[in-house]
């Protein structure tokens, strides 16, 4: 059966969520696998959010924030970038492919880029297949 992945996307309110909104209002078509969650800033996204998403069955996690230098709070996106690199290192140790976690900068005008990103990331996750985190954590042996 073809993998129909669940992807959780954390989008910052100021740029990326607005960008995603633009993709929608411009009636661009893109894969329906992404479940967006709006946060005030990509700097608000704690590693715990990502780990919880994995634990609850996400096959991939997408994080989007404002381009470097554009953060509404000046440097939230830099904090996000640092956490992202540490998290990738961490999930690799936990047996999760680091490719399942992706960070991209999407500005409020980049609806098209957002739609393309969702399509390409969905394709990456489809090729990786379902993430076994949820079933591994539920199975006690």
């Amino acid at each position: 059966m073809e993998c129909n992945p669940k992807i959780v996307a954390f989008l910052c309110k100021w740029c990326s969520y607005t960008g995603a909104d633009l993709a929608g209002t411009s009636r661009m078509e893109y894969r329906p696998n992404v479940h967006p969650i709006r946060v005030m800033c990509s700097g608000r996204i704690e590693p715990t959010f990502v780990l919880r998403a994995c634990r609850q069955g996400a096959d991939g996690v997408l994080i989007c924030g404002c381009h470097p230098g554009d953060c509404h709070y000046q440097e939230g996106n830099y904090r996000c970038l640092r956490r992202f690199h540490l998290l990738q290192k961490h999930i690799r140790q936990m047996g999760i492919a680091p490719e399942r976690l992706k960070l991209e900068w999407i500005s409020a005008s980049e609806g098209k880029q957002y739609a393309e990103l969702v399509n390409s990331f969905t394709q990456t996750i489809r090729e990786l297949g379902h993430c076994r985190v949820k079933e591994t954590m539920e199975l006690l042996t």
Binding site: E46, L51, C54, L86, G95, R132, T136, M137
Partner: protein, 325 residues
């Protein structure tokens, strides 16, 4: 009339014995404890058999300190027996509280551990690839061994726990305070509380000097820098679990010029201790581009093992996903 003594038990699951020794560290206060309590079960010191405990009526023991994680069927069985026999069951020490050091075995599977121990270790010769059996026939009858589980769990994962006393091992003064409260019939905190520890983070009251704006440009292993003995470890580039760890230990490690390792567990309301710590550490790296950030992170050799040193089995990702199945 002499006041009735309380009945007390101390038991170890998957533990190193340090928690039991921390009970002995009460020194001469032990006389007060023995005056107030009968120790009915304590494998490190007394020869009470499991059958004797199983024969006790339910609720017979007033206070049980259970230390150690749940690693095998024996640990789980005794956890359930002691739960039934005890009025107050306390998860004593990091292992019972959060899985502790034995919980790091959750980075491997049972088969990987068996393979290392019974096949690959340098001193082992095992051409038949023998493995421990749960039961085997012998001349004397059936011999049994506890079943080794794939997953290490905390005490609360297998039975209901009344209180948690964190620490590796818990600070003995905290034990005495808790014990005194129980003996004197003082009002106990709500069921499920962490007791014998503070609610603030170590950094809040740390005795070392701190700057308001911390930046990390390089992670050092402790032997790579000469600690000046007074500046915050983090500012010297040495990882310290202070930002997310509870107080209560009286800064034993810091006073001994060693960074905090996080044995007292996370502050209240933290759902994933390692995740919180990663959040705190990463955000103060003094770089803004991927390449240099990765270079700084290269100094963090084992992030998962470091940030979840005591808490892996109670975290969102309580074990590593097995490589191939």
């Amino acid at each position: 009339m002499e006041k009735q003594k309380i009945k007390m038990a101390v038991y170890w699951g998957a533990a190193c014995g340090g928690c039991c020794v921390s009970v002995l560290d009460v020194h001469e206060t032990l006389f007060d404890i023995v005056a107030a309590a009968d120790l009915v079960f304590w494998p490190i010191a007394l020869d009470t058999k499991y059958e004797d405990v199983e024969a006790m009526p339910d609720g017979h023991i007033d206070l049980t300190l259970f230390n150690g994680a749940i690693r095998n069927s024996e640990n789980e069985h005794m956890a359930k027996v002691l739960r039934a026999k005890s009025r107050v069951l306390v998860a004593y020490g990091s292992c019972a509280h959060m899985g502790g050091i034995p919980g790091l075995a959750n980075f491997s599977t049972k088969e990987e551990i068996y393979c290392r121990v019974y096949d690959e270790s340098e001193s082992t010769l095992n051409p038949d690839k023998s493995r421990p059996l749960v039961a085997c026939e012998a001349g004397e009858g059936v011999l049994e061994l506890p079943e080794f589980y794939n997953d290490v769990r905390s005490l609360a994962d297998v039975t209901e726990v009344d209180y948690y006393i964190p620490g590796c091992p818990p600070q003995t003064e905290r034990l005495v305070e808790v014990f005194t409260a129980i003996v004197t019939g003082a009002e106990l905190p709500p069921h499920g509380s962490v007791i014998g520890a503070g609610n603030k983070a170590q950094c809040d009251e740390c005795i070392r000097k701190k700057n308001a704006h911390k930046k990390i440009t390089k992670f050092n292993r402790p032997w790579e820098v000469t600690d000046d003995g007074e500046t915050c470890f983090m500012e010297q580039g040495i990882l310290c679990m202070g930002p997310t760890t509870r107080t209560g230990c009286d800064y034993r490690c810091i006073e001994g010029n060693a960074p905090c390792r996080g044995c007292y567990g996370p502050t209240p309301d933290v759902s994933d201790p390692g995740g919180k710590m990663m959040s705190a550490i990463a955000s103060i790296i003094d770089e803004k581009e991927s390449g240099p950030i990765d270079e700084v992170l290269d100094g963090l050799v084992d992030p998962a093992g470091y940030f979840y040193r005591y808490s892996l089995p109670v975290s969102f990702l309580r074990r590593a996903v097995p490589r191939n199945r």
